[in-house]
Amino acid sequence: MTALTIDRVNKRYGQLHILKDISIAIREGEFISLLGPSGCGKTTTLRCIAGFERPDSGRILFGTRDVTAALPEKRDIGMVFQSYALFPHMTVAENLAFGLEARKIAPDERKRRIGEVLSMVRLEGYEQRFPRELSGGQQQRVALARALVIEPSVLLLDEPLANLDATLRDEMRFFIRDLQQRVGITSVYVTHDQSEAMVMSDRIVVMNAGEIDQLGAPREIYERPASARVADFIGRSNTLQGEIAEALGGESYRIATSSGAIGAEGPSGLSVGAKVQVMIRPENIRIADTGEARHGDNLISGSVVKSIYQGNANQLSIRLASGDEMAVDVSGRTLIEPDAAISLRFAPGDAWLLAS
């Protein structure tokens, strides 16, 4: 069932077109991330859902209820802010009670729910502390608890981990994801950190310049990006220019490139002769004489330009005969001579076509 619908929403600030016809349907209990560089419109989208911004056109529905014109306080949302936005003059318990008081919940029930949610975020015994007496991670958990204690229909998170240090950030990712799944609450998460979006989300909305570049599960976004922009934004990638030489049916194609003919997969329906880019992730390329070669693997040769040892991996830079450079990740134990001639292989399934 669709819990949250964003239907052809447009937003302009003066000359700037911030959101261009954004449509997203979010399922009940789903964790969805809005991912993109700053200025892509992800925060504006979230603020439209929260009601802090009013779309110029389009609709926003919670379930079947049209909330486009509703004030934030009438929307039944829980929101977590980048700055936490805890009330500094109130204790943890008072911060949590605020939303319950606004909803006129009886004191007994209030107390029960506060206790319950504090144990959920593992902060029992912190009721009487003030926010300034807590660490960044604890403050973040209080902010989460404050948003969840009112049992909202949607949880909105605006870069909640951006102010935490790296270790804590990694820990909180799993904490938030785990909590979200236990509560089963529909969540919209805004981030510019692609690895955060990858590990937490059911689906990711990749945004750019006010448009949705791609909407899909993390695996789909990573392995089957819709455009070169998405491929670049999510992880590292190599691209080879080419032209479709033969459609082999389904998603399989044969591509003519300046480094020879290779097999690749792409969206079905591409026509022969179309210009394409072939995207290959560095970790999916192997040195030809190592491991087990499979029938149909693409072979390509070049010479080693650079090798950067990183312990667990060697990051190689390979110059192909065509002059293109390719990044290749191999095991850290593989010894590579600089300037050595090298032969690479990769499966057609790991080469993905992007229309250019």
Binding site: A50, G51, F52, L71, P72, E73, K74, R75, D76, I77, G78, M79, F81, Q82, S83, A85, L86, F87, P88, H89, F98, G99, A102, R103, F130, R132, A143, R146, A147, I150, L156
Partner: protein
């Protein structure tokens, strides 16, 4: 620069700062000392310790009346400015158009920028022009409110500037309407600014002279005016006793600021 040089410069700097403080504080200390002088004149050397001038102050009906009048004027100025200064600061910070904001800010702090005597003369003409005149206390009261207005406005403005507005959004997301947001979130956050501004307002209103001199109503003198009148014909330490009392009140106010909001505002 070596560390030896640094300590020498540090010490010289401390000496300079000390000298400035002595220069500023010495007259005040002197006046306070004189108020306890048992001699007949406002002069050195001190002839002995006595509280007789305080007694003379408190038994002088004119001084008592003037003190009460000053307190009344200052209290009304404080209450009025506490409300309109806060509202004005909220309007300028939140609702004014970006282009108009800086102009409004300058306009609101105008009474601080224009010499007090000019404000006084302008108001005097104005009150006579519109028929209010200076028969009643309304003129002097308005004058005090105008001159002390910027103190509340500026303090609340800076409190608003340092306030993280996402707290208000958080409150709204939790289901609070505009009034609950203001009362439970915004007001507590700007409270230190309001209190500091109000105390300044009170102390300044208690102290100002020019406005009172020109706008005072019939038969009422503020304490500084009464003191000035007194000093024209008398030169005994009663005047010093009044000064000591004013200084004491000012210090008390500063102490209150520090104890109630000064230290606490560091938490945010």
């Amino acid at each position: 620069m070596s560390s030896v040089d640094k300590t020498i410069w540090d010490r010289l700097f401390l000496v300079l700062v000390g000298a400035i403080y002595i220069f500023l504080m010495f007259p005040i200390v002197l006046v306070m000392l004189l108020s306890f002088n048992s001699g007949e004149f406002l002069a050195f050397p001190l002839e002995g310790f006595s509280l007789r001038w305080f007694e003379s102050l408190f038994s002088n009906k004119r001084f008592l009346d003037a003190t009460l009048y000053s307190v009344r004027i200052a209290a009304i100025s404080t209450i009025v400015n506490g409300v309109i200064g806060t509202l004005a600061a909220i309007y300028v910070a939140r609702h004014a158009r970006t282009g108009a904001r800086n102009w409004l800010r300058v306009l609101m702090t105008g009474p601080l920028l224009v010499p007090e005597i000019l404000t006084a003369i302008a108001l005097l003409f104005f009150f006579y022009e519109i028929g209010v005149g200076t028969d009643y206390s309304i003129g002097i009261q308005i004058g005090h409110i105008v001159v002390t207005f910027p103190y509340v406005f500026l303090n609340v403005s800076s409190a608003l500037f340092n306030f993280d507005r996402s707290q208000e959004e958080a409150a709204r997301s939790l289901g609070a309407g505009p009034w609950m947001v203001f009362r439970r979130v915004t007001l507590p956050a700007i409270k230190p600014g309001i209190i500091t501004g109000c105390l300044f307002c009170f102390v300044i209103s208690f102290d100002i002279f020019n406005i009172s001199l020109l706008l005072k109503s019939l038969g009422n003198n503020t304490l500084p005016l009464e003191l000035f009148d007194y000093l024209r014909f008398n030169f005994d330490p009663t005047a010093a006793a009044i000064a000591s009392l004013s200084i004491f009140l000012t210090f008390a106010a500063i102490l209150i600021i520090d104890r109630t909001v000064g230290l606490r505002s560091l938490r945010f």
